[in-house]
Symmetry: none
Subunit: 207 residues, 4 copies
DNA sequence: AATGAATGAGGGTTCATTCAT
DNA sequence: AATGAATGAACCCTCATTCAT
């Protein structure tokens, strides 16, 4: 009656991921997970130390990779060329390549980490990411705009909206190509939107 | 020894709102609510039929008002003047007046309705709102852009980001003036962003 | 179907005391307790915050009283007259009065505190008591005996034996008169035993 | 890859003894034992039928030896010479030889048998031993004292204290020399204490 | 001999809700 | 109106033991 170990573990991980996606960490039920995975509660604890260890096994690699990305990205920055044009078509092309390299980062696991992790040690991930985005955003607009006195809250809101949009894409659109296109457009939207809001006062319309 | 009915009910509603804001409907605990409200579990059920009725009492008026607003807004539309200019400064002024009339709509209760209602009959509110926004958005870009073949998903993402930003403002920034300014900027950002993304191919740069 | 609150609580306390006496804190089962007390698990938590709070309610007064006794006793000491004679009959009389004043201290609860409290915050009570007894014992024999170099371990053993005997009386003999007599004899035994062991070298046989 | 059978078994016995010493039979965890012994739960059951069989293997020889000792000791008795003197110094010497012969009996296993066996078939060992001691004690004082009417409970208490002291030495003091010295002093204490309590009425002070 | 997967009962605890007082 | 006692299901988790491999 025994099944090979990996099968059960994979079934547990698979059902757990669904359960966490649907309910979040705290409302997820181990009883439901093991039932759907076709095993028993007792057996669950042969595979995972506890509920949080199960969650960790799902997201920890992603978490580390993402933190590594965040740190290295901070130093490296994005393509300079972005700042050379406001033409949507050209930007799309540049972004497409750039985002292509980031695709592994924007996995479903990132959604678990940021939006379904309440009650775990990862529960601050979203605010960490938000801080990074906000800082990043503020740096950019400081370059363009001198009077940055009261932009903190705006950056907070823009960063939050941007992040939620990104996470929404990751959660909902699993087809890889579509996802990449949507991420492209999403970033493009925020880039052009920012330029448009700030731009009028900064740039000479050169025609 | 009796306290006037309204006082108790108000205390319950007050603490319930905080509890639902913090935990969401399902993780909210009636025991905690009554304790903080200074009454007892038994008495709670003299005022409310059950947990969901309590939630309803907090949000139902808002829900109806919002649905009414959504429906009437669909017919009435927003200020035409928005379409006449892309100057951020002028748009700000117009928006400021427009948003001023909407402020009552963007209350904390709307946040409860959309983001803390899982497990209640209101749990679909966010997707309803999202649909409205998305439809709205699609209509606008259809006016501006002929090839609207595959914009549905983009509209979905833009709508979602926009909505999440709006809800974030409502949740986090309670000072009325700041909130209105942030909402203004938020709408402006989306308006200009949309124009910028679409605009290059549609508008003659008239200089 | 409801019973007056105090009845249920008392039933719970009564059965809990039996359960803790028989099994100790950790092996005691709340399910068994509530079953014997004629109520349900859910209801148990209307009366007590958790298992340890139940234990505390049984022993905390006793714990405080005992600690107070220990501290004040340290300063006050026992009857001087004990040191004036080695006649068992006389000592019995003196001890009888002395022990009479201590009877409330030597309750069944003290047994719970020292011998059934593993896993609770009281689990160190026995070693505290043992330290007090040992220190006390060492002081006495230092008065009588100059070469106290290596008596620490002996005092430890004597103290432990004495304490275990005392707790055994408390646990097993519930009749108050018998208990007092046994405590008397117990103390007497340790007093005379100590004198006998040390005495040969210290006292002039005065005949 | 296989380890020799005896090594595994010995490792299990070793860790089991520690575990039983620390937690007692019922709270001991086979999972912890096998982990510390470097093997697995499944393999454990190749060596021992179940948890109780493991405990038995640790203590059964000791149990039988002790029971044999108890029975033969009952017939044989202790050195007559003990009764000839009350001088502590002389008694120490006699006892030292006597106790030396008993040392194997007073092993750590005896502690397991009496104080960590709850839940096993050995759980009555302590009360058996206590009965033996008590009977023994009563016989002695009957020789010395005619009015033995109500000494049963006192013997019970004295026996218990004596036994607990002995077991405490065995548990805590593992250095062989120190242990023997403490056992000597312990027996001496009880011998002299008993004499002192009874003695006044029985012996002529011969000076 | 060795592994660890599998089981099911039981551990303490929280919950929304009902209802007698 | 107010109290809180009562219920039972569900929560996460640990346990000794069995057994297929």
């Amino acid at each position: 009656m025994q099944v090979k170990k990996e099968e059960v573990k994979n079934a547990l991980l698979l059902e757990a991921e669904k359960e966490f996606m649907q309910y979040g960490f705290e409302k997820a039920s181990i009883r439901r997970i093991v039932k759907k995975a076709g095993t028993t509660i007792g057996n669950f604890y042969n595979y995972f130390e506890n509920k949080e260890a199960l969650f960790s096994e799902l997201v920890d690699d992603e978490y580390k990779a993402f933190m590594y990305f965040v740190n290295s990205h901070n130093q490296q920055g994005e393509p300079e060329v972005l700042l050379d044009t406001l033409d949507a078509g050209q930007l799309r092309e540049v972004l497409n390549q750039f985002v292509g390299t980031l695709i592994p980062v924007f996995s479903q696991k990132l959604f678990l980490l940021t939006s379904r992790s309440e009650g775990t040690k990862y529960e601050n991930t979203k605010s960490i990411v938000l801080n990074v985005i906000t800082e990043h955003y503020l740096e950019h607009i400081r370059e363009l705009n001198s009077n940055n006195g009261d932009n903190k809250e705006i950056a907070d809101v823009v960063g939050h909206s941007f992040l939620e949009g990104l996470l929404y894409i990751i959660e909902k659109y699993t087809d890889e190509k579509l996802r990449q296109r949507l991420i492209n457009e999403h970033i493009l939207f925020y880039f052009l939107g920012t330029m448009a809001v700030l731009g009028d006062s900064n740039r000479e319309k050169p025609c």
